[in-house]
Symmetry: D5
Amino acid sequence: MDLIEKRTAGEIIDARRRAKGLTWAQLAEASGRPVVWLTSAVLGAHPVPEEVAATLAEQLELEDDLVEALRRQPYRTIDPELLSDPTIYRFQELIQVYGPALKALIHEEFGDGIMSAINCSIDLRRGSHPGGDRVVLTIDGKFLSYDWVASEG
Amino acid sequence: MDLIEKRTAGEIIDARRRAKGLTWAQLAEASGRPVVWLTSAVLGAHPVPEEVAATLAEQLELEDDLVEALRRQPYRTIDPELLSDPTIYRFQELIQVYGPALKALIHEEFGDGIMSAINCSIDLRRGSHPGGDRVVLTIDGKFLSYDWVASEG
Amino acid sequence: MDLIEKRTAGEIIDARRRAKGLTWAQLAEASGRPVVWLTSAVLGAHPVPEEVAATLAEQLELEDDLVEALRRQPYRTIDPELLSDPTIYRFQELIQVYGPALKALIHEEFGDGIMSAINCSIDLRRGSHPGGDRVVLTIDGKFLSYDWVASEG
Amino acid sequence: MDLIEKRTAGEIIDARRRAKGLTWAQLAEASGRPVVWLTSAVLGAHPVPEEVAATLAEQLELEDDLVEALRRQPYRTIDPELLSDPTIYRFQELIQVYGPALKALIHEEFGDGIMSAINCSIDLRRGSHPGGDRVVLTIDGKFLSYDWVASEG
Amino acid sequence: MDLIEKRTAGEIIDARRRAKGLTWAQLAEASGRPVVWLTSAVLGAHPVPEEVAATLAEQLELEDDLVEALRRQPYRTIDPELLSDPTIYRFQELIQVYGPALKALIHEEFGDGIMSAINCSIDLRRGSHPGGDRVVLTIDGKFLSYDWVASEG
Amino acid sequence: MDLIEKRTAGEIIDARRRAKGLTWAQLAEASGRPVVWLTSAVLGAHPVPEEVAATLAEQLELEDDLVEALRRQPYRTIDPELLSDPTIYRFQELIQVYGPALKALIHEEFGDGIMSAINCSIDLRRGSHPGGDRVVLTIDGKFLSYDWVASEG
Amino acid sequence: MDLIEKRTAGEIIDARRRAKGLTWAQLAEASGRPVVWLTSAVLGAHPVPEEVAATLAEQLELEDDLVEALRRQPYRTIDPELLSDPTIYRFQELIQVYGPALKALIHEEFGDGIMSAINCSIDLRRGSHPGGDRVVLTIDGKFLSYDWVASEG
Amino acid sequence: MDLIEKRTAGEIIDARRRAKGLTWAQLAEASGRPVVWLTSAVLGAHPVPEEVAATLAEQLELEDDLVEALRRQPYRTIDPELLSDPTIYRFQELIQVYGPALKALIHEEFGDGIMSAINCSIDLRRGSHPGGDRVVLTIDGKFLSYDWVASEG
Amino acid sequence: MDLIEKRTAGEIIDARRRAKGLTWAQLAEASGRPVVWLTSAVLGAHPVPEEVAATLAEQLELEDDLVEALRRQPYRTIDPELLSDPTIYRFQELIQVYGPALKALIHEEFGDGIMSAINCSIDLRRGSHPGGDRVVLTIDGKFLSYDWVASEG
Amino acid sequence: MDLIEKRTAGEIIDARRRAKGLTWAQLAEASGRPVVWLTSAVLGAHPVPEEVAATLAEQLELEDDLVEALRRQPYRTIDPELLSDPTIYRFQELIQVYGPALKALIHEEFGDGIMSAINCSIDLRRGSHPGGDRVVLTIDGKFLSYDWVASEG
């Protein structure tokens, strides 16, 4: 069994998904997982737990080397070229334009610290408006305050 | 009247705000503007309309050159060094980890296109959870579909 | 059926096109699509709709994996090395030289906002002049104004 | 008389223009020059001919060091940070998405060569459409073919 | 009172410290703070609480604008040139050489997650060895596991 | 026998390890080596001595080309993309935030010089705290003072 | 017939040339083309006209896929690593040292404009001098003046 | 006498030159130096010998600090932003397009080595052609062959 | 006979060398070449003369394609990632720390010019000292003075 | 007493040195320090011991703020633009061309480890040769072997 790079595996599994006419939402429901989590995990951003991998293997008829790739712990990195894809870039631009304000408001509301990107969930849904439908993205991360703590004992 | 660079003006106005003991939320309320908008605008990301500038000038006793800087059309850029501030960087990391999944789900739900970063609002609020309070960020942008349109007439 | 990277597919289809002696303009006409759109789509910048892919497959005798690549949603990115090709670089240089002026004039004419690169069409034609023929490029994009809008309901 | 950097001079003259309530279009008309040319020249992209500089000096009451800066031959460069301003960036994105197609079509229509960025004019106008007004940008550059020519005699 | 950039303030305060013949350890003790925390805070990495700032102001005879800079919330960034200082670079090299191993061992011992750089303390002490004295650096950060949590209610 | 790149070999050996259900700690114990050393060496950061390579070959049933790769002297470099993996990046961030303070304190305690990254050991262990378990990383490197020494004779 | 990347084709044809003991000068003479043009074209910088390709194919016994690669329109880019080859780098260094002076003198002699890199020929010959033989490089490009021209009609 | 940065001095002296209506060619003739050498030296690329500095000081009425800057040994570097000025960039593009060919032909004609950028002269002149005047640049550098030589004795 | 990239060939030949238990010093002696030259040449930095290639082919039983690669003229470049290998990086650091001083002293001793990296030999030997053995590196390059010379006749 | 940046101080002291007609060698001799050490220290690479600073202050009539800058602990970094100065760049090029060979030979002669850049001295002298005088640079650094050592007790 050869090693398949996790992101390559994600592209192959995605092609299987399209070929079978399944949506990410359907796979997420079948797996009992939130759709942003499931999609990012398949595309290579998370190690997939055994039971979720089993569900995906069954739904998409995956070979063992693809399952092994799903299960594996990833390096959570991105090919920097992808950040310039227009759909992804707009999020980059929002950080560029609003990053300093978000920092100022997190400090005003919570004090010195950050929003965790580890203890964090993301939801994407359709919003409605007379001017046209909207993408509504909710990022919900634990506040972590700067704390100078050492182990005990 | 010398020209003050818009971001420098933002730092000076921010120092005035702290010296007067006013929160961003209070300034936003006084201005009748959402707090993320108001904060980013003062820090240099938007041209500030006349009436909002007047309110800020009054509340913070701003000199004319600071008001002129607030009113001016900005280049909406950022010193790249700031993107590595931990509080801002976590948002960068989220795009790195979840960007491909968000792209896939936007295409699945809306078709080929992007979430606008121009027709877009952002809200930041405190969420509660037994494990600790949470930062809840909502980004709400109009979906724009790839469309090959030309002017008429 | 192996996955072929979309840009690789574009190079192979382009070679087929040359081997068959067909111009981009002829393919565009056969497909009922504007030539800048059709060319960029084949080279990997757009997902190709089913009927256009069918026309191309017939005209150029494409195998299924090439058709699948045409149909697939792309990452709209570019290998940065290509931006230094002299024919492409001249457009880069125009942004470098005239970018600030175009920004100033868009704001003067339309207010605070941008020209959309998503709701946008491009036309390239030959212009005539005693000093020599000219390349005339028309970019026609919807104006989007900065708008702080949120979903309703 | 101290040397004022040409782009700094452009920012100061722009502030004068706003303070006097003059549009770029009005300055262009007074100078007898196309508006994209005049705007870019004032912002630092061109050496300004004597008579145009005189007109600007009169209209905007410019001091000698500002006139000297206008007249001076520039380095036509840009602070790279400005390329990420959203209004300018959309043009960058268009090159990224459509650059290879424009190259292919220039070669198909004209042969091996480039569109000149030196013998080139640019026009920006408002286009109309039921879906909203549009920015229409026309770039009109001489075609230059690759030619292996040497001086005679 | 002019704004002094926080890192500039740190350099000035450091010069005061040397002029007065005080060590970082003495300042830390006087402030009742761990020495790594105190040193980094003075050099610009943390907002300094009121009572610590008061102690420092007294010990080092600081003017109000320096105290204001100490108290201010920082951008926790670094001039990238400083990372190549040999004393700092050796830490960079350790991450380069041992980073993948540390990642593998954190995942083996704790599961999928990270060591927090926010809830984290650092201690630096002298170690002894027949071959020469040693720098012993202890980094003690809370383990955070990847957790898909959302606010309640 | 083909040459296998050392880091590729590390990934293959790691997959063998997982397939056999062995931990890094177990491999380290079997090899009589500290676990951070053993893990980094297998992943490509050190040449592996003959007896350790023999132990690993036996435990993991390694083919000769993998053993040869383990034995080989490495370039101790890292694909820069990996430095942005969140688990590794937190160490980068600590250098960014605390690097100048660590430099100041090394100079205060030891004089002008560096902590060696060559004569250096690293230990990773679990620390306990009511607020949650902690990653405790100890870096122990020889102090090297700047010394202008030349060979004798 | 597989597609061979144009630069790869150039390396293969170059190896054929060496194996046959032919110089670039001989190939250029056989092709009736200047040697700098012919060499750069074979190495991938130009599309090769049919009759030249035929001559090369005959002289070097080239297969069809190599001829096809010669004929193809190139992206005229370079792997940036090659710019640091010492023989090429010296030209980079000359631009670094003399670029501003050449710009000043082109403007003094010709006015505002550039030397064309498209309508341009290059000659390389041996020069003699008591201190040692010399490389004499002549670059001969058409002067293009900045001209704001639009198509007629 | 304050230190003036050498390139800043060059800009000031250049402004004096323009104010006095002197060309670079006239200054070169007065100094008895080739014009490319003289221009680059004044703009900061060479230390200017005493007698040349004296001539320039007299012709342009330079203060002592400007003369001192002219005389000083430079770092021969360039602000990288200037390399993108269109007039300079065309030379960059020529290296990109023709660099590999020039390298191949230098090796064919002279063997393994480089054209010196140190023992090197440059001449710029106007060439004539029915299609328009031309910039003719001659670079004349000593060939240096790779030679493994050590000092004697 | 396929083309083998010169650095790949170097890695393969190095593996042969290790497999045969030969040192670089032994190969250098057999070839009658200095060891730094021979090692760098085999690893891809020089074209290897016929007789040296023949010796190496005999000693290491090299196939024709490896010999062809040795003989070939190289691009003398380096994968930039390798510069961060600690053993190589220390030389980088020395240039960073001492580069400006070496420049000043070369100018003081020799005048305006450089040490040639082309007419240059390098020797590496073991030095002894009570504090531990030392690496002694001698770089011996011809001084080249800036000289404005042109070909004669 | 204002803080003067250490490298700025170095430039000022260097100007004093030239104005007084003193060579680096004379200053080194007066200070009783090797010339490469003394030169680099004055230019900002080392903290200067009290007695050396006193000698320099006397010889060059330095003000207190310059002496304070000399005494201060530096960040041993370099403005990256300076690395492209031709006199410094040749050393960069040598690492590029010979770095891998030097690494291989250090490992062959000494085992796995590095040449120290901290316990290291550098000497620059004139070498003679019929073909022209030579720059002879000797770098003499302690070999440090990779050693997994921890503090005792």
